[in-house]
Amino acid sequence: MKASKIILLMLLAVAISSAKNSEIKIKELYSPNYPIITFRVMIGTGSVNDPKGKEGLNALTILMLAQGGTKELTYKEIQEKLYPWAARISYQFDKEVSVIIGEVHRDHLEKFYKIFSDLILNPRFDEQDFKRNKDLLLNYIRATIRSGDDEELGKQALVWFIYEDHPYHSPEFGTVEGLNNITLEDVKNFYKKYFTQGNITFGIAGGYPKSLIQKIKKDFSKLPLGKPEPVKLPEPKKINGLEFLLIEKETRSTAISFGFPISINRSHKDFYALMVANSYFGEHRTFNGILMQKIRGQRGLNYGDYSYIEHFVQDGGSTFPVPNIPRRQQYFSVWIRPVENKNRHFVLRQAIRELEILVKNGLSEKDFESTREFLLNYSKLWVQTLNRRLGYMMDSDWYGIEYFIDKIQKELPKLTVEDVNNAIRKYLNFENIKIVAVTKDAQSYMQDLVSNKPSPISYVSPVSQSILEEDKIIQEYRLNAKPENFRIMSVDEVFEK
């Protein structure tokens, strides 16, 4: 008993002394019975830190750690070690932060931690790994999004378009030219500059031994002290009317995304009012939203229609967003899933008209009540695993707010329908919007839009009179599309530089 007390005291002493020299932040979510341990190492660096002409440097650096080797082990040797444990190392990179994620069963925790921490603290930076990881990013641009995923292409291009002349402009995965300019030396220098104690938060969840926390503090105090200056973010450029980017591509349907910057994020109280409005208008992958009900449900024009008030990336096959993509500046966006080319004019009119109706009329008391009730229940489902809970906790710290899920429970009941409708009028608009469409024969789409000629649609079966009446209004709805506000780009040029 005595002996163990002494050891405990010694341990504490170590903890204090190392803590003194350590700036590393640790976020713990301890759950003793949970056999799966998750690490989320968040680095306060993203594509905003990419030097001009080397777009993609942050992404490539993260890949060189998460999908590279350590001083002791090659990438191949690491794969061999992790394999029988089914342990996973994954990664995310975004505009402002990047994350390296590890997951392992408790049976193999100690050995896994050694490898995982070495990847970050003692990376190998192997020339072959560099070539492979660079190819991976280049192929993501050339083969995956340009050639195989029109919806993702449209969404990514929208962000690029919204943030012209702004640090958020360059994509988080880089550009073809930027990536081709990057050398392994650049990666090493980037790592040295940004992988500092003050710039890293180590998140850990599950049933880990408490002693591991001291070890993490000690190990990560080997990194240099300090924290790089955050990149200054100017206000995004003002949008004048409807500004179009049409991406010309041989495709059997048209993918549309549009949006504009908004000046608030989770740390602002109005965000929670806007959250209710957005859920009513276009909750992701549900039938609740007006857009979904009217475009898909009533008219069968496509597979889905949603809206967002912050950057959103879906977590695998779930309907929930991935955590750890926080941004100081956010944007409102609408995602119209591919529509038949012949209906592209009508659907864009319809979606913007719905936005106008939202801005002008707001929500009714009844819609407000039911949407708020939905969100109060639904948001509890966002954190079904410890891994996701940890991610949300870290994001909440990043925004400087209490735990986001708790904050929703606290803020939403305080709201009135007027708060929501005021927030809509204050932050949303239907006149100054950037619009991206991935489509065939872009020139004729532009002519249709500029001419504002009627764009009637036909149905294979009779629909109700009220829908037909509304269609008559939609097909004539005027969009302020001026020829000088169009840019047409070939798909091969997108994210080239």
Binding site: P32, Y75, S253, G300, L381
Partner: protein
């Protein structure tokens, strides 16, 4: 005190892995008089339940010509309401609950799933039982939904994966319904608006209690669950339809296809070998799951050579999904340059030939066993996944315990079993090859 804590921790840490049963939770099974199976698993997710309705019908059941894609289309129609709860009312109820609700269709099954608060159990049972027993939609609603299906096809069609799988299955199968993908042939999708009557027949055939299961996982009271299920589903009438799924004759010669892709792309290569259906008894079928790891896991020599060393491909994968009838072991890779297609193909074939002649070291099989067990155990971290697993093994065999039998069978796979399986199934005459490259202008 301290010691017992340590012991307890050890016990828990072993919980998921060392038992005879890979699935560490107890599955309660009750079958109602009308044949409806109720499977429930208590799971540590305070205040939350996952609720699945499993229908043992998928695109495999689309036996009539011109009706491909119907199982999936029908899944959409299930959201169109009943007399008691019309579409909008059904949606409003789910909205109030704040439930996460959706559905999916595969070749073999269709699942309707909800994750919601435990308090919502009775409401969920009420609205779900109602739509399975009393679904009602008009021809107009039916036609409108056909548009959404075309939209879903279109969103997938911008990716080379859909045409690749379409071509591969179309060539590899001559008779069995696995000839088409779950979304169906485009020509049939375009004709869907005209198939209202067939949709009613589809519902009548397959949406019957003896063909379905309710799976509930999470925080609930078992006694109350059974009472409620009996109350709400008790009146559901049995059906009697038995589909006759045509049997695929053995393939006797290699089949080859090509797709010219409009627009830029890297070349893709897909190869399919016919393999047996899911089984908890057939050791060769279990060995085929090991072949997938031996060739395509990140530590596999073939993967290492193609992805890491030579860097000829940016991804490669291969495996045989668990299916009710014999399907394919499918290999899919994206190649960095058109000139390398033949070299990549040869490397794959060489690696397969090596498995026919050189026994795999026992240690390698042990590593694979460990991987299979740990990756499965690590996936069971939320009620939704657990419900999915129970539903999936139920639809495959009628008994969710088959998951445990499968992993017990994995324990028995030997190097000889692997060799036998590769020799028998990975032959030239049993394979179909499809390539996709940029169309030359």
């Amino acid at each position: 005190m301290k010691k017992s804590i340590v012991l307890l921790m050890l016990l828990i840490s072993n919980l998921a892995i060392s038992q005879n049963k890979i699935f560490p939770f107890k599955i309660n099974k009750v079958v109602l008089e009308n044949g409806l199976t109720v499977l429930s698993v208590p799971f540590d997710s305070p205040g939350i339940i996952a609720y699945y309705t499993v229908v043992r019908a998928g695109s495999r059941n689309e036996v009539e010509p011109g009706k491909t894609g119907f199982a999936h289309f029908f899944e959409h129609m299930m959201f169109r309401g009943t007399e008691k709860y019309p579409e909008q009312v059904y949606n409003d109820i789910l909205k109030r609950l704040g439930a996460d609700s959706n559905a999916f269709t595969t070749a073999d099954w269709t699942a309707y799933h909800i994750v919601a608060s435990s308090d919502a159990l009775e409401t969920i049972i009420d609205i779900e039982s109602d739509r399975f027993m009393n679904l009602k939609y008009t021809e107009e609603q039916f036609k409108t939904e056909a548009g959404a299906i075309l939209g879903e096809y279109n969103k997938s069609a911008s990716s080379p994966f859909l045409p690749l799988y379409e071509k591969l299955q179309d060539l590899a199968f001559t008779t069995h319904t696995y000839k088409h993908t779950t979304i169906g042939f485009l020509k049939d999708i375009l004709d869907m608006p005209n198939q209202y009557d067939y949709s009613l027949q589809f519902f009548d055939r397959y949406y019957r209690p003896e063909n379905c299961a309710i799976v509930v996982v999470g925080d609930f009271d078992q006694k109350k669950l059974i009472e409620l299920v009996k109350k709400y589903y008790g009146g559901w009438k049995r059906g009697n339809y038995k589909p006759e799924i045509p049997v695929e004759p053995p393939q006797t010669e290699e089949r080859v296809g090509h797709i010219g892709w409009k627009g830029k792309t890297l070349p893709y290569l897909a190869i399919g070998y016919h393999v047996p259906e899911f089984s908890t008894k057939n050791i060769e079928r279990a060995a085929i799951d090991f072949v997938s790891e031996l060739l395509f896991s990140r530590t596999a020599p073939l993967y290492q050579k193609l992805v890491i060393e030579k860097q000829w491909v940016d991804f490669i994968q291969g495996g045989a999904p668990s299916r009710r009838d014999p399907f394919l072991f499918t290999i899919l890779t994206r190649i960095k340059n058109e000139n390398l297609i033949d070299s990549v193909k040869n490397e794959i074939f060489n690696a397969i030939e090596e498995l026919k002649t050189k026994p795999v070291p026992k240690e390698r099989l042990e590593q694979i066993r460990s991987y299979l067990k740990y990756s499965f155990a690590m996936s069971l971290n939320n009620p939704n996944t657990v419900a999915y697993v129970v539903g999936n093994y139920f639809q495959l065999t009628g008994d969710p315990e088959s998951v445990n039998e499968l992993y017990q069978l994995y324990e028995k796979v030997t190097p000889q079993d692997v060799m036998n399986a590769v020799k028998k199934y990975f032959t030239k005459e049993n394979r179909t090859i499809v390539t996709l490259t940029e169309e030359k202008k």
